[in-house]
């Protein structure tokens, strides 16, 4: 049960040791604390340049994590999103070079959506678990990216594409705006549409969802299409930031996307979770990486810190649930 589902909050008795909703303030509080620490150690942390940097750098992870949230809430997982970035980067770049801006962007996003559709079809129509299907897709997609390029980067992209990764809308960085719009849209989709309710339902209890007459196959298929689409948009952002097609890009990013979702407090089993939580999870990872870079902490230590935070965050979440139960 979660504090995000209104009925659960109403039904759960207020535990004495937790006078208010800790889970709603724990992560924002932690982010604030990190900000204060990094800001006092390096005053440039709060500079506008740096804050927009954080937005730019985290936009790719944010987009992947949005798709991942749907996959996880539906009771599945999508391991392929990091490799899909490479597919978009490579195929999108080739189309950008050959046909120009709009066909390149649309083609790149379509390629990833199509790959997501293939995963979705297999997950919906067969008994192969999502973990295995998307693990296969991870390797398949990476291999495709290497095969079509022979391992070399794609170059000669039209420079207008740079606007997506480096441009600004007023004071706001474009990739940050894209991620923000995606968050709002996805939140609406998960919370305000019947599709969103079905995603929760099939993640919580698939048999019950089927018994209730929900077309689980169709909605599962759509979940992975959506995850592929998000990876497609993320791939366009990264292509723009690198102004080239890179078959090696995005390696292990799928794990960070999963980490962002679980740090936010979404349960891996499905049926529970929200995009607001994922947003906080993304901010934690992004601010941590950026802040530790700014105070010159080695990237090896960063890996250790992120690992510890994943375990502590999930541990805290479980402890809180038990208290409440």
């Amino acid at each position: 049960m979660t504090a995000d589902s209104d009925t659960a909050v109403a039904a759960a008795p207020r535990p004495r040791l937790l006078p208010f909703a800790w889970d709603r303030v724990a992560l924002p509080g932690f982010i604030l604390l990190m900000g204060l620490v990094f800001g006092s150690l390096n005053p440039n942390f709060f500079s506008w340049t740096n804050l927009t940097n954080v937005a730019r750098q985290s936009s790719v992870l944010a987009l992947l994590s949005i798709g991942q949230t749907f996959a996880i809430v539906s009771g599945g997982i999508d391991l392929s999103v990091g490799s899909l970035l490479a597919v978009v980067s490579v195929l999108g770049s080739m189309q950008l070079v050959a046909f120009g801006l709009v066909p390149g962007v649309v083609g790149g996003i379509l390629a990833a959506t199509l790959a997501g559709a293939v995963s979705g079809l297999l997950i919906a129509r067969t008994r192969i678990p999502p973990f295995i299907v998307t693990l296969g897709m991870l390797s398949l997609a990476r291999g495709t990216a290497f095969t079509v390029t022979g391992g070399m980067p794609v170059v000669g992209l039209p420079t207008e594409i740079q606007w997506i990764g480096a441009g600004s809308l007023g004071p706001l960085p474009v990739p940050g705006v894209i991620a923000a719009v995606a968050f709002v849209g996805a939140h609406w989709l998960l919370r305000r549409t019947s599709f969103g309710r079905y995603v929760y339902a099939m993640g919580g209890n698939e048999a019950a969802a089927i018994a209730a007459g929900i077309n689980v196959r169709w909605h599962k298929f759509f979940v992975y299409c959506l995850s592929g689409f998000c990876a497609g948009v993320a791939g366009i952002v990264i292509t723009s930031r690198t102004l080239s097609g890179q078959p090696t890009v995005g390696e292990t990013l799928e794990l960070y996307a999963i980490a962002a979702v679980v740090i936010g407090g979404t349960r891996l089993g499905g049926g529970d979770g929200s995009l607001i939580r994922t947003l906080f999870g993304v901010i934690v990872i992004a601010v941590l990486g950026n802040g530790l870079n700014l105070i010159n902490v080695s990237s090896y230590i960063q890996l250790i810190v992120i690992g510890a935070i994943i375990i502590v965050a999930v541990g805290f979440d479980l402890w809180r649930r038990e208290r409440r139960a």
């Binding site: 690198t242 080695s298 990237s299």
Partner: protein
């Protein structure tokens, strides 16, 4: 102090050993009055080559009163990470950036951002395609290829050679192979190049290539290698065929396995880059730029040629970090 003197003495010997037509030296400037902060980006510290380079940056910076912020991308596949690291260096307002690019085209936009922020970029070892860098410092791959060609010209004079040219399309390896072939074809009519193969720079690829060469050509006198790992694979194939030491192996770069095989006489010649020197010169160039002194657009660091005869005496202080050294 004694160690430094010994090192200097050996350095003088080492310098005379090198055939390199590169810049002999790029002297250390006077210590600036201000303490500069210099961001350094390397692709992969687990590679001894970049560990040696990291030592060069750190030690030189200490001597010039500068502070180094060292970032490791963790591998050539982590372009997105290197871009974020550069952006974070720009945000922390470092005075200069030394960049070993994980991707030539992929680093173009972010180097633009550094330039826009007025931060000079010293491009070291692996080149970015962005022309806005203040200076480029690297080995001359043409010289590396020619040095191997000269060696075979003198030692072999007549015979058959096969080539392992490393990854196709990687410019450093291609340049070495091209200049090797050109020099041989121009200057040594007695030496025939039988075949050339491109592959990933891994021992298993080198092994497979060499096995195939041995099946195809009954008489091979020497193997050219653009890179160290394919050379190690070639050595394994020759050992298995009972031809180790009988077929000459020439290669670029000098990792510990290469050194052992040079001592054993399996690898005949290693042409060695000087990553420590690259790091030192990069910091010197950065300080010169910041002190408003003129710098050249391009500097070639010298290379060393190492054979069994001089492997015991050659000075590796410009190649490797001191044993046990770790970046802080």
């Amino acid at each position: 102090m004694r160690r430094i003197l010994v090192a200097l003495g050996v350095l003088a010997v080492g310098a005379t050993l090198a055939w390199a037509a590169s810049h002999e030296s790029y002297p250390r400037p006077g210590k600036p009055s201000k303490s500069y902060t210099i961001g350094v980006l390397v692709p992969q510290l687990t590679n001894p080559h970049f560990l040696g380079q990291a030592y060069g940056y750190m030690d030189e910076a200490e001597r010039l009163g500068a502070k180094v912020i060292l970032h490791d991308a963790g591998g050539y596949q982590y372009l997105d990470k290197q871009i974020a690291q550069i952006e974070d260096l720009i945000a922390s307002k470092v005075d200069a950036i030394c960049l070993v690019a994980v991707s030539g085209p992929g680093t173009v936009p972010v180097v633009d951002r550094a330039a826009a922020a007025g931060i000079p970029v010293v491009n070291v070892n692996v080149m970015t395609n962005n022309e806005k860098v203040a200076i480029r410092i690297r080995s001359d791959d043409t010289v590396i290829g020619e040095t191997m060609a000269r060696f075979l010209h003198e030692r072999l004079k007549k015979g058959s050679v096969v080539m392992q040219s490393g990854p196709a399309g990687a410019s450093a390896f291609e340049l070495r192979a091209k200049s090797f072939r050109a020099w041989i074809e121009k200057n040594t009519p007695g030496i025939k190049i039988l075949g050339e193969r491109h592959s990933l720079n891994t021992p298993d690829q080198g092994l497979k290539n060499m096995e195939d060469f041995l099946q195809t050509f009954p008489q091979i006198d020497a193997v050219y290698n653009s890179a160290d790992f394919v050379a190690i694979g070639a050595a394994q194939a020759l050992k298995a065929a009972g031809k180790a030491g009988k077929v000459m192996i020439v290669t670029a770069d000098f990792q510990p396995d290469t050194e052992r095989m040079v001592r054993e006489g399996v690898v005949t010649q290693a042409v060695v880059q000087q990553p420590v020197t690259m790091g030192r010169w990069a910091i010197r160039a950065a300080v010169n730029i910041l002190e408003k002194r003129e710098v050249p657009k391009l500097l070639y660091t010298p290379i060393l040629s190492v054979t069994k005869d001089d492997v015991a005496t050659v000075d590796l202080s410009t190649v490797r970090a001191p044993a046990g050294w770790k970046p802080k």
